[in-house]
């Protein structure tokens, strides 16, 4: 048999016959379906007209994260209808109000390597960091899935991404995610899978891998998948306790075949990268932070499924501990989940951020999608650790959104301008910087 990519292997083992003769699309049996208050609410009426029940409520991984708590009466109504739907269809409610669906998914033992996971949200791709096939879809696809247990998909070709070298202290997953998009272009992976191989010295943290996989969709990809390895095994062992990774974890089914064909290959030497920033508007302009024209900013947003994890908030706390954010800058901190929230409470991260002047909100989407608690006005600029800098996404169409890592965002909060974040790390790190970078804006 022809050697196959990991994505092809994961999909084909769940595929039935082509849906119509001559088609490249197959019915695919789905292991887990992700949903949340906003996009599931859109399908409830049509679901009820179909007059059926959900094929398997135990496979529904449904959170409430967008309108939580609601900021308008209409959103309260949407949330209310959604929760009533969950009740009526006997869907587990243990995830409701606990944080962003995508983060809850990777924290939960229901999400396992090798699964086929489809979600009513584009960032469902993040679960690919756990070696699953995970992709986002709209409400009609998800409605059909809830009724039948299947989706109709073709097998995307894969782009192989190899991370190599040692990751410098000033970089994290967000910089790598931006580097991939910078190299591939905004739509560079449409209808393709990204297959990530972590060959870095010491390995990427899982939080960084989540940030990378999260933004697969910003390159247009169907899904992104990290090839399972020891780092994932350790993560699962810690997360799932005695259960640990399932028996098949070692198997060839969770690895791409030798000689698999890739439409494109990217080698990324992480040691050579500088912190990156996506300039406002779209993901077509991604540049090193030290080349961004300095500009006064009004807000920094640390949050979202792309950048609201413990690793992100910890690095921000490290920069801001014992200091104050620049006068007039709003630092909005929205942890991605209650588990992240609790960890930050316990280990002093929140104390450091709070004392530096941060406004800390409950775990939810918050300002990321322009939903609440941290919208920006016309002419204002925000540095955000989220995944989209689209016009109007966080409020006024005339507001500017810069995307960056938590370190770069924290440096902006501290200085009130976008700057090379390596200059605000402690002296030990700054001393190790190449001469060219050390002269950047402080």
């Amino acid at each position: 048999m022809t050697p196959q990519t990991l994505t092809a292997k994961l999909l084909r083992r769940r595929a039935a016959e082509p849906i119509v003769a001559g088609s490249e699309f197959f019915r695919i049996a789905v292991d887990l379906v992700l949903g949340h208050d906003a996009t599931i609410a859109l399908l409830i009426e049509r679901f009820q007209r179909a007059g059926r029940r959900i094929w398997d409520p135990a496979r529904c991984f449904f959170a409430a994260d967008h309108f939580t708590p609601p900021s308008t009466p209409e959103r309260a109504d949407i949330l209310h209808r959604y929760l009533a739907f969950l009740n009526q269809e006997c869907v587990p409610q243990d995830l409701v109000f606990r944080g962003i669906s995508h983060q809850l998914l990777v924290e939960d033992r229901r999400c396992q390597p090798g699964m086929v996971i489809c979600g009513a949200d584009s960032h469902t791709v993040m679960a690919g960091a756990l070696g699953a096939f995970a992709c986002g879809m709209g409400s009609t696809d998800i409605l059909a899935l809830l009724l039948t247990g299947e989706v109709v998909l073709s097998t995307p070709e894969s782009i192989r991404v190899d991370f190599e070298g040692a990751l410098p202290e000033w970089l994290s997953g967000k910089d790598l995610a931006l580097e991939i998009i910078r190299r591939l272009g905004e739509g560079g992976a449409v209808d393709r899978a990204l297959e990530y191989h972590d060959r870095t010295r010491g390995g990427l943290t899982m939080d960084s891998r989540f940030a990378v996989a999260n933004m697969a969709v910003e390159a247009g990809a169907t899904n992104g998948v990290f090839v399972p390895d020891d780092a994932l095994r350790r993560y699962l062992a810690e997360r799932d306790g005695a259960a640990g990774p399932a028996p098949g974890f070692e198997g060839a089914w969770l690895q791409p075949d030798d000689g698999a064909r890739y439409v494109q290959q990217l080698r990324i030497d992480v040691a050579a990268l500088r912190p990156l920033v996506a300039l406002p508007g779209d993901l077509g302009r991604i540049v090193p932070a030290d080349e961004v024209e300095p500009r006064a900013i009004q807000q920094v947003f640390l949050g979202s499924c792309a950048g609201g994890r413990v690793e992100d908030l910890a690095i921000a706390a490290r920069v801001l501990r014992g200091r104050r954010v620049a006068p007039g800058v709003r630092l909005v901190v929205t942890p991605a989940s209650q588990a992240v929230f609790r960890a930050c409470l316990r280990n002093g991260i929140f104390e450091a951020l709070h004392d530096a002047g941060a406004m800390i909100t409950n775990a939810s989407c918050g300002a990321c999608g322009g939903i609440d608690k941290g919208l920006i006005g016309a002419g204002e600029a925000c540095v955000s650790t989220s995944n989209r800098n689209f016009r109007g996404r966080m409020g006024s169409p005339d507001g500017l959104i810069y995307l960056a890592s938590a370190l770069t965002a924290a440096a902006a909060a501290l200085t009130g301008t976008i700057c090379d974040p390596r200059t605000v790390l402690d002296d030990r790190v700054a001393a190790g910087l190449p001469a060219a970078a050390a002269g950047g804006a402080a």
């Binding site: 119509v20 490249e24 059926r52 959900i54 409605l143 999608g369 689209f390």
Partner: protein, 179 residues
């Protein structure tokens, strides 16, 4: 099948937040309709006007971004007849077709003047622009998508539109690893 209409021309990488900002996310069709093109620079007025009979012509990676189906639904509510782009983002093109609206790619689509009349021939996979004497190839849809469009959307294609009595409910254990 042939679809005729007046072109409404949009650019490259037009994303879902521009096409339909999240503040218009709603279960109410009037609110959804009113959000059409409300963050696409220079198109705010157009978005609110009568767009029935329009065919959208766009550049690369049209509809990138969010999976919110309100964005796709706004096209239907505005009366748009078809979407033709040099290339389409994946989730968006699925959403539009799932609702029964044709969304196709025409890689050679040139820059065209506003409001020009076009004709999309889905039998021959051509886009005709009579005023410019253009006859451009459209990438044929996979037979699955062609069947979905003929049926009027994904749910009718799958026979899931109307009540057929309760389906048997499975009680499978949650999948863990290789079965």
């Amino acid at each position: 099948m042939t679809i005729q209409g007046t072109a409404l021309i949009l650019g490259d990488h037009v994303n879902t937040d521009e096409l339909h900002p999240s503040r218009f996310f709603s279960l109410d069709d009037r609110t959804v309709r009113s959000g059409f093109l409300q963050a696409a620079a220079g198109y705010e007025q157009v978005g609110g006007s009568d767009l029935s009979g329009r065919v959208i012509l766009a550049g690369d990676n049209f509809g990138c971004g969010s999976s919110r189906e309100t964005g796709a639904r706004a096209f239907l509510l505005a009366g748009v007849r078809a979407v033709v782009a040099r290339s389409l983002a994946r989730i968006f093109s699925r959403n539009v077709r799932n609702l029964g609206l044709a969304a196709v790619e025409c890689p050679a689509l040139p820059a065209l003047p506003p409001d020009i009349e076009v004709e999309l021939d889905l039998a021959r996979w051509r886009l005709l622009v009579p005023a410019g004497s253009l006859d451009l190839p459209v990438t044929p849809l996979d037979p699955f998508w062609a069947a979905v469009l003929r049926a009027g959307g994904l749910l009718p294609f799958l026979g899931l539109g109307e009540a057929t009595g309760p389906a048997p409910r499975g009680s499978l254990p949650v999948f863990r690893g290789q079965p």
